[in-house]
Amino acid sequence: MEAKEFKVRWVMAIDIDKCTGCGACMVACQAENNLAPVEDASFKLRVMNWLVVYELSNKQPFPDHDIAYLPRPCMQCGNPPCVSVCPVIATDKNEEGGIVSQVTPRCIGCRYCMAACPYHARYFNWFDPSWPEGMEKVLTPDVSVRPRGVVEKCTFCHHRFMQAKDKAIVEGRDPEALNDGDYVTSCAEACPNGAIVFGDVNNPDHAVYELARSQYACRLLERLHADPQVYYISRREWVRRQLDNYLENEQVKG
């Protein structure tokens, strides 16, 4: 299970200590990627959200309680559990940058990838999407609307990557060496706290280069060897401890 090597590796570094759980990233994601609103969104196991903000607790009783919020996009794993299982190559990790693609027009909706993903990053269209009358006018032209019966997930706003590359080409720059900030995801852009940082982890000029190498940076379920491209940063040990399953006697990093 060797992860593919990429010259450019887009990663997200999410500072959990800076996230206050406001939800702006989730709304921005929906609007950017043309997710349909739902009347009753309280059955969370059926609600499509490419990005979900989880609530973490240190499990101490009042007044020693501490809280943290963890935004969870698709991890864009270096060794994605979902890609090899797809029978129709509707999801792949091939393009420079290491984003796990999702080709919804090819997806047959078998949901095997969802079973494979321990992060619950993949969502199924249980019904056809529907917008209140007129609201379809707010659909962005960048991301196709998906019909029922297919699986979808966060793409790190891949269309923005394409736009950034196009822009670089037009301006005569190397599209494989974008500047920090040329390409950011909608959630990273929206976050008022700057909790989400996006960039090329292989490029020392990008902020994520240092952040991913921070002593406080951990990835979710690292020991399952999915090699995620999302780093979480927290100075709180209890938070880092909840990013992976630890046996009682095990020490946490950082």
Partner: protein, 689 residues
């Protein structure tokens, strides 16, 4: 030529085989796969040229700046604006959904009139004009007007109109700004409190939800962002003191739990310690204040607030050590704050030398009104709508003949909302200028649709919480629907028809005059720039010791448990309800189906003998709600936290019928001293359902 059976079969076989070797079957299969993505009922994307327009949100209470992305003439995205001082590259969970709300099912798209049987019928603007002119004409001298816009110059138009109609009853919907303005007045100051959070080196929020809903929240969060380099010690510590470990506490470096409504006492506890270690002031009533504060020893404050005495001492020591500390007081849910609480917080700032210094509290200039006979900002702040309704309810004042609402939803958003709606029912004629069919619209005889902030020309002048006086314009970026009319222009026209001279015929001229009064350049404003003034108003403030002392004598709330409403911007406001795209941000154990969850800590749950998911009745003399229990340890003991923004009975399928409105449980009281209506300290009883 005759075709026999055998020949026919051969032909069919031949054709079939022939087709199979052509690309036809494969093309058909391919088409089939394409058809499966292109069902006619699934909307498809429409491309067009992209443009970006900078403007400001009139929907979000944080007045966040934003960049609207248009594709052709359609706004498709609300993006943060790096250059706007109230955005600084961030956006709120509410404003980011604003483009979608242009097409909200709850939008009112044509004037509606309530018919005899209570149903609403669409009417033309001409009919609406005639009805309004007639009713307002006959209500002359007995008109009241309520505005839900805190920062717009339209309040001058509305208040001037009300004045010309022979009435002084112009009100703003209650928020944090009124108690703050009254506190400032009581302390002998002028202008408006400004909070220089960016330049502070220690930020202490007592009650005020500075990282979620208090003041210019997105700007506050930009300061928080800069103060918290990734994976490093914060350069500026943020401390939150409040009953609930909400979003502000989640970001803050330290959370100190206190009982709801004890913010003032907590501030006095800090003042006590600061004075004890030598803090002093030249203010005229310093000695009065010092003797008041002397009673608030850490032990006493610990008893009153539920915080630990050591924690209070440590906090005071940290404040003293800081060079540019800033203390911000407010209510956890952005309203109902006693004036004395704000004054007590200000007193701590004064003791810390924080007045008009960088990183402290500034007194910002407020421009004089530009519309003839409009109320000044200070006068508007004096007016207390809840007190007014209470007087009507008590029979101390006659209900007005007519009431106008402008983007205000008192029937949902006021404490004891049902009671308030009953009082409103005593008003014979009510009309509302509104974007959405809200609870108040459902009480009105006439509903007049107005454009959203994205469709109209409007302004924002120095929102409460801002660190400097500023002025900017909301510019129309989206085409206005055919049958909505901008309220300001409409009222100017109506004033003309009724013979009330307001001195302006066009809204744009009012704004131009306002810009000039603020000292801003119109052209630059229209280009999307924000006018920011560094001016402050000089003053030597007193402590308002007398006011604080009286305020703190307020009775403690009835009931065995304290109520802590939780305000989050993703839930929308009383004016917007829950935006369609924000439904998904409601947390799992905040709402399930139509059932609201209320939160309490484990000790409280054990005391009540309830566990997670149990049904309880939360009640007091104002009302009661049925809810399920969520056990969450980040809450003060004997306190129940209830999310605001649920329990709508109007709007659309995304808001209506979901949970309960916590406002039903908030009991209005009147603050001794200021007489201000307050409801930050509600008590409830909880029993198993």
């Amino acid at each position: 030529m005759a075709v026999d059976r055998r020949g026919f079969l051969k032909f069919v076989t031949g054709v079939s085989a022939g087709i199979m070797v052509t690309p036809v079957p494969w093309v058909l299969l391919d088409d089939l796969s394409i058809w499966t993505q292109n069902w006619p009922w699934i909307p498809s994307n429409v491309d067009g040229p992209n443009t970006f327009v900078s403007t400001v949100s009139k929907l979000c209470p944080s007045c966040v700046g934003m960049k609207v992305r248009l594709v052709g003439d359609r706004p498709v995205r609300i993006l943060p604006d790096d250059n706007h001082p109230l955005s600084k590259g961030g956006i709120s969970a509410l404003a980011v959904a604003e483009a979608q709300m242009l097409h909200s099912p709850a939008r009112v798209r044509r004037p509606l009139k309530r018919s005899g049987d209570g149903a609403y019928v669409a009417i033309s603007w001409e009919e609406a004009d005639a009805l309004l002119a007639e009713k307002l004409g006959s209500a002359k001298g007995s008109l009241a007007c309520v505005s839900g816009d805190e920062t717009g110059t339209i309040n001058e138009v509305l208040s001037a109109f009300t004045a010309r109609a022979g009435s002084q009853n112009f009100y703003l919907m209650p928020s944090e700004i009124q108690p703050a303005a009254k506190a400032l007045a009581a302390m002998g100051g002028e202008g408006q409190f400004g909070y220089d959070i960016e330049n502070s080196d220690y930020v202490l929020a007592i009650g005020a939800n500075i990282l979620e809903s208090w003041g210019t929240a997105i700007r506050n969060r930009a300061a928080f962002k800069d103060a918290h380099p990734h994976g490093q010690e914060p350069t500026v510590p943020y401390v939150y003191v409040g009953a609930v470990q909400g979003n502000t506490a989640a970001g803050a470096d330290k959370w100190i739990a206190i009982k709801p409504g004890t913010e003032g006492a907590f501030a006095l506890g800090l003042a006590h310690l600061l004075i004890k270690s030598g803090a002093s002031s030249y203010a005229s009533d310093f000695s009065a204040f010092a003797s008041l504060a002397a009673g608030y020893t850490p032990e006493k404050v610990a008893e009153l607030t539920g915080a630990s005495a050591d924690g209070i001492k440590a906090l005071a020591a940290e404040l003293q050590k800081a060079r540019r500390p800033l203390v911000i007081t407010g209510s956890e849910f952005g309203q109902g704050t006693p004036v004395g609480t704000v004054a007590a917080g200000m007193a701590v700032n004064l003791l810390l030398g924080g007045l008009n210094r960088p990183g402290g509290v500034k007194l910002l200039p407020v421009a004089a009104p530009v519309v003839d006979s409009a109320l000044s900002r200070a006068q508007m702040m004096e007016k207390d709508f809840v007190a007014y309704l209470s007087r009507i309810n008590a029979g101390k004042e006659k209900a007005p003949e007519a009431m106008l609402f402008y983007e205000a939803n008192p029937a949902y958003g006021l404490p004891q909302a049902d009671k308030m709606a009953e009082v409103l029912a005593q008003v014979p004629f009510k009309a509302t200028f509104t974007t959405f069919l809200d609870e108040t619209a459902m009480l009105c005889d006439l509903v007049l649709p107005v454009p959203m902030g994205l469709e109209r020309l409007d302004d924002v002048a120095t929102p409460y919480g801002s660190g400097s006086a500023l002025y900017c314009l909301a510019r129309p970026v989206a085409p206005m629907p055919a049958n909505v009319r901008p309220a300001a222009d409409y009222i100017l026209g109506l004033a003309g028809k009724l013979g009330y001279s307001l001195g302006f015929g066009k809204w744009e001229d009012v704004l131009k005059a306002k810009a000039q009064a603020m000292g801003a350049n119109w052209k630059s404003l229209m280009a999307g720039d924000v006018f920011v003034s560094t001016e402050t108003v000089g003053a030597s403030l007193s402590f308002g010791a007398d006011l604080i002392a009286k305020s703190l004598t307020a009775k403690t709330a009835e009931g065995d448990f304290a109520l802590a409403p939780v305000h989050k911007l993703n839930m929308g406001t009383a004016k917007t309800a829950i935006p369609p795209y924000n439904n998904k941000t409601i947390r799992r154990w905040e709402l399930q189906g139509s059932e609201i969850y209320v939160a309490m800590n484990g000790a409280t749950a054990r005391k009540l003998n309830v566990s997670k998911h149990d049904k309880v009745v939360v009640s007091n003399k104002s009302g009661s709600i049925v809810a399920r229990v969520n056990v969450f340890e980040g809450i003060m003991s004997d306190t129940v936290a209830v999310l605001m923004g649920l329990g709508h009975t109007a709007f659309d399928q995304f808001s209506k019928g979901k949970g309960e409105n916590v406002m039903q449980l908030l009991t209005v009281g009147f603050e001794p001293g200021s007489g201000q209506s307050v409801w930050a300290m509600a008590g409830v009883n909880i029993s198993k359902a």
